[in-house]
């Protein structure tokens, strides 16, 4: 390695460069690189939150569908809509 090359990496002295060279012995062969690549799954495309929910329902429609409905029911009861529903119900009952 030339003096210029050592100068290009001021953070590395000659002993460091010797160790860098030794570590090159650990580089993977082209066969290893190809073998790992073959086994990698494709990158899943980025999805919106809605798409994630739909995927959950597709995978386990009954379980996740029931959970979704239960969550919606809890929200409905806890939100002001429930109060409005209560008022309308009371009015309807009063009208009878």
């Amino acid at each position: 390695m030339s003096r210029d090359a050592l100068a290009a990496r001021p953070d590395f002295d000659a002993d460091d460069e010797l160790l860098v060279a030794r570590w090159k012995d650990l580089s993977p062969s082209p066969e290893i690189i190809a073998r790992i690549q073959e086994r990698l799954p494709p990158t899943p495309p980025e999805r919106t939150l809605a798409a994630e929910w739909l995927e959950l329902l597709r995978v386990r429609p009954i379980v996740h569908g029931a959970m979704t409905l239960a969550a919606a029911a809890v929200l409905m009861l806890a939100t002001p809509l429930a109060a409005l529903g209560g008022i309308l119900g009371a009015l309807a009952k009063h009208g009878e």
Partner: protein
């Protein structure tokens, strides 16, 4: 943290990440090919066997690509650094589990051996790997982490400090201690290498 000469620019990485997330397999492959050799060398520094290193590298890239949407390349947060953080976690966990297995296996048709390499050269290369891996066993976890980043990834002390969340001076101290140990263990072989290095100075 500026990219090394082999590391593509931030703009290139952003483009590749975006294309990979859009489902372009060639972009995922490009990200893999650009970084696999460095990740493998770092991981191999921790593994007794090449098969373990292969498995860990596969695990690293699988995890990385599965969570690619959560990574935002930006200055000071290079893609390689993110990959190596995943790789080091996996490698260190495996190393702690496998501490009992100290025999170094080198059974595969290893490493970057050119087709024209003779059997003697291949044996010599295997011996050199074994020596390095045995020398690394004498380091503690922190020292091994620092030297694997310094010499496998060819990072500066500042870059290593950034990734590990340490002060640069501390990294230099750890590296100096570890380097001394390695140079002593590898001295007979290194004196052959240094003749080749110094020869080019004269």
């Amino acid at each position: 943290m500026s990219p090394s000469p082999e590391e593509p620019s931030l703009a290139e990485i952003r483009t590749l990440v975006r294309r990979a997330l859009d489902g372009h397999a060639d972009a995922s492959r490009a990200l893999y090919r650009l970084h696999v050799a460095t990740v493998f060398r770092v991981v191999r520094s921790w593994c007794a066997s090449e098969a373990d290193a292969e498995e860990l590298v596969q695990e690293t890239f699988t995890r990385a690509f599965a969570s690619l949407g959560r990574f935002e390349p930006r200055p000071g947060k290079p893609f390689l650094g993110w990959l190596l953080a995943i790789a080091l976690n996996a490698a260190r966990s495996r190393h702690r589990k496998d501490r009992a297995h100290q025999a170094f296996e080198d059974t595969e048709h290893h490493a970057a051996v050119a087709p024209s390499t003779t059997a003697e050269d291949a044996l010599l290369a295997a011996e050199r790997r074994r020596e390095l891996l045995e020398a690394l066993e004498g380091l503690d976890e922190r020292e091994r982490t620092v030297v694997s980043l310094r010499y496998a990834a060819e990072w500066s002390a500042a870059e290593v400090a950034e990734l590990l969340g340490l002060e640069e001076a501390h990294v230099r101290k750890i590296c100096e201690r570890a380097r001394k140990h390695l140079l002593e263990r590898l001295a007979p072989r290194l004196s052959d290498d240094s003749s080749a290095v110094l020869g080019s100075h004269r």
